[in-house]
Symmetry: C2
Subunit: 690 residues, 2 copies
């Protein structure tokens, strides 16, 4: 397997021959931290030394700061070793911003642990060519420059691993230079063929290299996907004549899968499917007492029927569950399970392992609490009581479901468990099966959210739902795409069963459209919770949560009826996922960039992927223009830095709205009119210029 990049040169010497930085610490006496040509701030790197992440096909910016004293030219490479052991060498380009930063964009195409090291060298031919060119032009030192050139080419011709034809040419040129005349010197200093020979295989001295660094490349689903969350018990649930409800099952829920797949989703995520406790079971709308027939929160896990490795008997058998997974696979959907590491008072753990909980002086087990508040349907695990025993059990639970075919876990509230536990669990699970992915639901302080990502979570919920204004979105989307993308991959859920933001509550249907368009295009992973299509926007008063929350009851939804009445967002979701499938630029995280408009509610951004990475040989460029005020019509001018995708400022080009099919001629300044009620967002494809 080879990495794909714009430029690649043939082999330099093997790493073993290159002097490297010999120590990680400045305090080893006599060992220097710097190499002959300095190579500083190698990236991708994660602050604190955690392992950087990428996913298969992700375009990763490699960069290093390198320079040397004086005016001689240097070259910089990055040497990659793929998980299967294949080496490749990629030339970096110096940025022109005076920062001495060298960069190369490289897409990695194999899952696993890659190694990389940067190598710098004095580029003796380029140094000579530059000096010879300007000195001949100035009429100084011509014989000396000719002689230096002859010496250099003669030396290169003696390098045994150069092809014979090349060596012959170099000797011919060296002989010509030995004549010492200005015309020959100038001609060879600027000869494209000679430059190419030395670009591919430089005359490289003062070779320097960094230590080896590592980069974990996950499977594509770690970084790209459209998620759909649902409660299987609601799908196919029936209200009986006596007023009771017959729960949906894995078999009835599976009937919903073709619709979800037809909308273009990749992952079907199920809230917990385990037995639910009855002690202190919560009633509808989070009331303290359940009534007969209330199904309880699926997060109050564990009952007489079993715990985290069991299935709720209402949903079906293990066989039914496996059939559900197969049905999903048939539709191209991968199943994600919820991993909520807590117990109802009825969980078998409470009986078999009371030492895993906190026992109070009165002999009772401590409920989850935020003093003085208590959550009496939940016992939290105490990870400091028998940590090895608890860790082993959690590993067993995960591996149980992995054995059933589940490779994605949405982890509930990971920030309420020790960080160290997650580092251990994810590493241990991935050592056996690197395909297993964990999504962190940590709606918490930034340092904690980021630390969870740094120690191993492959995806993270984020603050997306609470970033709604233009200014907020510009800052937020830029931050997740650039500042933290090397270790944190945000999954832009538009809503969850726990989160119904004020923006959605009060923004009407336009708000639902706007948020779906932004989530599906601004990042490569996004998700919706079932019901989003139906604009379910009534909250429990004073909360940011749906009224009649599905956590505590069954929901009955008329998907097809709503769509037939034109009251469903499903057609838009279908369209968005189709656009995502057709446009590789939308399946990248780090290519997000903000542009501008004169209106404080019109957000503008682009996603661009260079031709080298699209697989089609053509670049892919998407411009999104969104009116984020769901209550208004906005007319304004959009300002684009078209140079980011290689179009000079002022030049015109065609754009096609992928939502409506409209085609316009645009340039760097463009009029837009976005009516929140009819057409709040443009998703524009830049058509290639002929």
């Amino acid at each position: 397997m080879a990495a794909r990049a714009g430029t690649r040169s043939s082999a330099l010497r093997s790493p073993a021959q290159i002097p490297t930085r010999a120590a990680a610490s400045a305090d080893v006496p006599g060992v220097l931290r710097t190499t002959r040509i300095p190579l500083l701030d190698p990236s991708p790197a994660v602050p604190g030394g955690f392992t950087p992440k990428a996913f298969v096909g992700e375009v990763v910016p490699f960069s290093v700061v390198s320079f040397r004293e004086g005016h001689d030219v240097i070259g910089v490479h990055v040497r990659l070793t793929s998980p299967s052991g294949e080496e490749s060498l990629h030339r970096l380009r110096a940025r022109t911003d005076g920062t001495d930063t060298w960069t190369a964009d490289i897409a990695l195409d194999e899952q696993g642990v890659w190694r990389y090291r940067f190598e710098a060298f004095s580029d003796d031919f380029a140094t000579w060519a530059h000096a010879a060119e300007v000195k001949v032009a100035a009429g100084v030192d011509i014989p000396v420059m000719a002689a230096l050139g002859a010496e250099l080419l003669t030396g290169a011709a003696a390098e045994k691993d150069r092809p014979a034809a090349q060596r012959k040419r170099l000797l011919t040129d060296a002989a010509a230079l030995a004549e010492g005349d200005a015309a020959t010197t100038s001609a060879l200093a600027t000869d494209a063929g000679l430059a190419q020979i030395f670009r591919d295989r430089p005359i490289a001295t003062l070779r320097s290299a960094t230590d080896d660094h590592v980069l974990h490349v996950d499977r594509v689903a770690a970084g790209v996907g459209a998620w759909y969350e649902f409660f299987p018990r609601s799908e196919g649930a029936k209200r009986m004549k006596d007023g009771t409800v017959k729960s949906g099952t894995f078999r009835t829920a599976a009937k919903r899968l073709p619709d979800v797949a037809a909308m273009g989703f990749d992952v079907i995520y199920l809230v917990p499917v385990h037995p639910i406790g009855t002690t202190n079971r919560k009633g509808r709308n989070n009331t303290l007492t359940a009534e007969d027939g209330d199904p309880g929160s699926p997060y109050a896990i564990g009952a007489a029927e079993g715990g985290h490795d069991a299935l709720h008997p209402d949903l079906g058998t293990a066989q039914d569950f496996r059939a559900f997974i197969r049905a999903a696979q048939k539709e191209g959907l991968e199943v994600a399970l919820d991993l909520a590491l807590q117990a109802s008072p009825d969980h078998p753990w409470v009986r078999d392992h009371p030492e895993w909980f906190t026992t109070l002086p009165d002999g009772t087990i401590a409920y989850a609490e935020n003093p003085p508040k208590k959550y009496q349907d939940i016992y939290p695990l105490n990870f400091d009581n028998d940590p090895e025993g608890i860790a082993a059990e959690m590993l067993r639970v995960v591996q149980h479901w992995v054995a059933q075919g589940v490779k994605i876990f949405r982890v509930d509230n990971p920030h309420t468990k020790p960080l160290q536990f997650w580092e251990w669990l994810i590493r241990t699970v991935n050592a056996a099966d690197p395909d297993v992915l964990f999504l962190a639901e940590a709606f918490t302080r930034p340092a904690v959210m980021r630390a969870l990502a740094a120690v191993g979570f492959q995806q993270s919920y984020s603050y997306f739902t609470w970033r709604n204004t233009k200014a907020e979105l510009e800052e937020f989307l830029t931050s997740i795409s650039h500042d933290t993308a090397v270790y944190m991959r945000p999954n832009l859920f538009v809503n969850t069963h726990d989160i119904l933001t004020e923006y959605l509550q009060f923004g009407g249907r336009a708000a639902y459209r706007i948020r779906a368009c932004i989530a599906a295009t601004a990042g490569p992973v996004y998700g919706v919770y079932a019901g989003y299509e139906l604009f379910e926007n009534v909250a429990r008063p004073g909360s940011e949560e749906n009224i009649d929350n599905e956590k505590y009851e069954y929901k009955f939804r008329d998907w097809h009826g709503a769509e037939a009445r034109g009251e469903s967002l499903a057609p838009l979701l279908r369209r968005l996922n189709t656009i995502r499938a057709a446009h590789p630029a939308l399946r990248q995280l780090r290519n997000f960039s903000v542009h501008w408009s004169d209106d404080d509610a019109v957000l503008v951004y682009s996603k661009h992927l260079a031709a080298a990475f699209t697989g089609t040989g053509r670049p892919d460029t998407i411009i999104v223009v969104a009116n984020v005020d769901p209550h208004s019509v906005r007319e304004t001018t959009v300002h684009l830095d078209t140079t980011r995708w290689g179009i000079p400022l002022g030049e015109s080009f065609e754009v096609e709205d992928l939502l409506t099919g409209a085609v316009w001629t645009w340039s760097d300044h463009n009029y837009v009119r976005l009516d929140a009620f009819t057409e709040p967002v443009h998703i524009l494809k830049v058509r290639e210029r002929s």
Copy 2:
């Protein structure tokens, strides 16, 4: 509830007993990067892993990101080990900004290598006290909280290393709690004495610690000082009747020292004092041919009389030089020498070590050049020819002068020599004598300037001379004080023999006053080049360099006459250095902070030092308000965040202008009038409130 969890003990265990992060790499199988309570981003730290710096008496912000799952209270310490092996433990405070960052400001009082590690623990008493307080108030769980408290105090009383009186008190309180009543529980949960006992010696569980980190603490002069640069040959030079000039000598130059000392300077820096080559000697104003009597540039080092270890015969003998050093010491001045590692064609190195230079195919030695430009009075060393030989000779040169009593070197153009060479040289010199300091004159790209500081230079020239507008100064001074202060100490020279900025050329005398006031107060190290007092502001046309540059000729200056005529800046410099000596806040780098004014030329900043660090028991706060437009009178309102030095917004306080003695009553919004021609800057001392 962690009260029962894990192990507990009294006073913090010794480091050896605390589980640390065991590996620097995430890729050691089975070894976790995170501790039970995470400790992330420890600081002071330098990007790239270079060693952080401080100077004796510098207030260093220590910080670490630490948090734990759930609501239990944690505590964080930093454990310092001084160069002489003494351990101390300092409690950190959590910032209130939601970043989970813990900080402590600590002044280090011993030169050498300090070690530090952060330690976090679950603070079981604080957790109990908080829960007990709110639960008693809410009327829930009172017996349980009382019992938990009794258990906790009983356990603490059993810790053998607590004082007997304390243990007795804890047992008494435990017995009272065992009664289980609300009043006792509430009272003990909020008891100040009990809180203090556990603040000093917490009931600490889940102990976690970082690895050891190091911090180099240099002597004070590395971070604090006022520098004065001069050409000793000019001081006491005499124009003879025949028109020739008789050079000044170390003995005549020493006569200037009392004046320099009286102005309050700490360091007297001499441009190179070595023999000067005659081959291709530069004439006045950098002309290519010298005339008879032109002394040549002291940077064209080396002649028949010797090289870098020799003294120019015009200046005197080794004995004269040592006498100069003694005379300086007597005046409280330390001598700094120039270290310019290059050779005139007449340098003994050229004869004895032609291999240290670059020999061209025509047998000549290559001049310094930037093709096609050449500098024909200079041969650059080629550090890649015999690197060990060159390195040994440079070390010998430095050690030669160290043996003469020189402990400060101003290094000319370090960015034209290999970075690695400096890392090696400085480390090697400092291993033998940690008092030796190197100032990097690297007016080059930011990455290179910063790398030189990171590898060891104790001080750096910076872009200060080119940062003249309010906006530029706000950004620049903030950056040097915070972003890079952990490894780069800028020396704010207002001018040098090579730099006469347009601001000084065209800003009149006001410009000289403004720049001196800012340089002397914004950073703890600054400098002037002789002649600044005389407002020498005429440049060679088209250049940023003095006309009739002292590099190529003798200068005759009438210091006392100018001062007698009221045409000297010496009184202001004297005043500024007196203010610096009286105010420890001005002798710190990291305490710079920007405030605001409504005028785009009125710069406002403060330097504050808390009472704990001033040595007087009182805080020291200086506010500087500067009109940086040297051509105008500005009236405006200054806006201060007085909370930075502990004064609530809106409260009034007295300020005293340390330049004029004027006293005003100020608060957070204040009128100022700054006339560039008479009084461009206020340097205000905040008087303590009574």
